[in-house]
Amino acid sequence: MSDVVMVPDISRTVQKWRKKRGSLIMALHEVQNRYGYVPRNVSLQLAQLMDVPLARIYEVVTFYNYFNLEPPGRNNVSVCLGTACYLKGAPDIFDSLKEVLGLEDGGTTGDGEFHLQSVRCVGCCGLAPVVVMNGQTLSKVRPGDAKDITARAKKKE
């Protein structure tokens, strides 16, 4: 388990939602955005700060695709499997990325370099099929692009 400690500014922001019904998800957004995932001991602190059972936090975190329990890779590859992308061949792109990276959905390479996940509609169906690489949207991707995409990401470092 990681030893991430909740940084004071997050703990302050989280405080403001304390005991406000339905605000857990807002606090979790803050945590996810800050760390790139929801570290377990931050969840434990959040449970105490907000007086919410850890079980509830895990229910929310595992329900929504947006949250991760594991640290992300240095490069995050999200493949859109929303309706438009799906029809435009996204499953094939996803499969070839899986093969190139040797990962399953939600997996991270052993060296922590790449994290691969499927997501539902990222809101730019006109560009389908879409892959989001480290926050940058790549449009009209073809299955053959998988190698190229990952190689470019490595080069950038």
Partner: protein, 601 residues
Amino acid sequence: MTNPNGYTTKSNIVAGGNGRPSVTATINGQQVKVPEGTTILDAARLLHVEIPTLCKHADLDPTAACGLCIVKAKGSSKMLRACCTPVEKGMEITTHDAEIVEVRRTVVELILSKHPNDCLTCGRNQNCELQTIASDFGIRQAVMPSIAKDFELDVSTAALTLDPSKCISCGRCVHVCQDIQNVHALCFLGRGYETQIAPAGVSLGESPCVKCGQCSAHCPTGAIFEFDETWRTWDFLKDPELFTVVQIAPSVRVAIGEAFGLQPGTNLTGQLYAALRRLGFDAIFDTNFGADVTILEEGSEFIQRFMHSRGELPLITSCCPAWVDFMEKFHGDMIGHFSTCKSPHEIVGVLAKTYYAEKTGLDPARIRCVSIMPCTAKKWEIGRHESMYASGYQDVDVSLTTRELARMIKQAGIAFLDLEEEECDPILGDYTGAGTIFGVTGGVMEAALRTAADLITGETLEQLEYTGVRGLEGVKEAEVEIAGRTVRVAVAHGLGHVESVLHRVREAKENGEEPPYHFVEVMACPGGCVGGGGQPYGVTNDVRMARARGLYSDDERRKLRKSHENPHVKRLYDGFLKEPLGRKAHELLHTKYQARLTYAR
């Protein structure tokens, strides 16, 4: 009169509604008048129509998870779920026709496609709700391709077995754990097909789980059941070197009959003694005796605190291990209020390996003690603290649930219902009426009051029954006059009801006020041990009440109904322990508590 569906209409059915306005509708052509808000499922039951369901349980709010209870309502294009749809004025409902049966069959087939075909080796074989429904619908082959997954068993509590592969995601266990018990050990992880019911990122043993087993009592399938230790018990029984003693908890005697087709509440004490003797146990004891001893210790503790201001008030009972675990994890600040007295079966255990061993000349190293309990948490309790080894050995070696004992009796080929009643063995078996009501919520309080009142006044009081602490109300409060002083008591059962009681105690403490109560009893399971997590399946409030009545009538039939009048208890103190709360009593009969983390990691 016959309606188009072929149902014969009898008289109109009207249900009482506590002043709520009522609505009239028809179900299968038969008119029914029910209080507003009554679900179609409940209204149908009034007409003796059973709509199948796998997720709805009488203890729980409906969740509409399983989809089996669908019915038709005239004018509605879609089928409605009977468990969560209230009857509306003028509704014309059909609960069963060829199409509905077909849809339900498909629902069952879908559930089965995600369920392993392990019935013969499953912990719920022959008493599984899914198996029964599959049988009713005559499912003879898998129509859908199987998407069942293999999961590892979680036996980390050594009290419960979690087998996620059998889970049908009905959610009963989660709702019991979260809403009724306020423990929040189990939760829904993931969603859709991937949904798994598990603790948050750890094993059950590392979670806040208090082992109450209410999840196992409410699970419709074999996804959660007791950690089986019958084989360990058989091992003791087959070893000629060992002297194996056994004891039965109060509530086991009024529930085990259900596993043999009898009505809840049937008292089978004598038959149980006989069956245990036939199983090969060398001495048959009764936990009720231990309960009488508990009352002498705990009652004396109460008198110390109440009359002589030695120790914090309220005194809080500690005989329920799931409650002890809950308190240690969630309410560590209450440790000073807890009775240090051990639970009745631990008392019988330690006395078997000390007092009984001494009297009979047996080497305690050869003695094995088995407890038959309504409870899964007792399996955890027997090793929870070093004081559970006060005899120099583990005081109770194995704790079996009522369900496990029922299986052993069947394995041994004992015609249980034909047995003549027998007596238990001296000297740890004879009990008073006060001991037997330990098995029902309010019972420990009532037993303690009977003894405390006599000891405080120094008289033999006529009053025996304290009805204010009886019944299934979640929190019961009562005031009792003893020697011109008012004793304020509270009784809570179902861990979800504890919070409000403790809150009042804390508030008074913080404000420097008189404590709101002097004595508090808590039982983790709704109804107390009669509704324990290790009892026969199918518990509802009616069943809990029937079992409770069984214990109260056992109490009424006893010549002696106050613990301190038990001659065997008197002899135990005269010849061995000397006095309640004395040095020896403390060594053997008392324990310690420590605040624990809710999550081990």
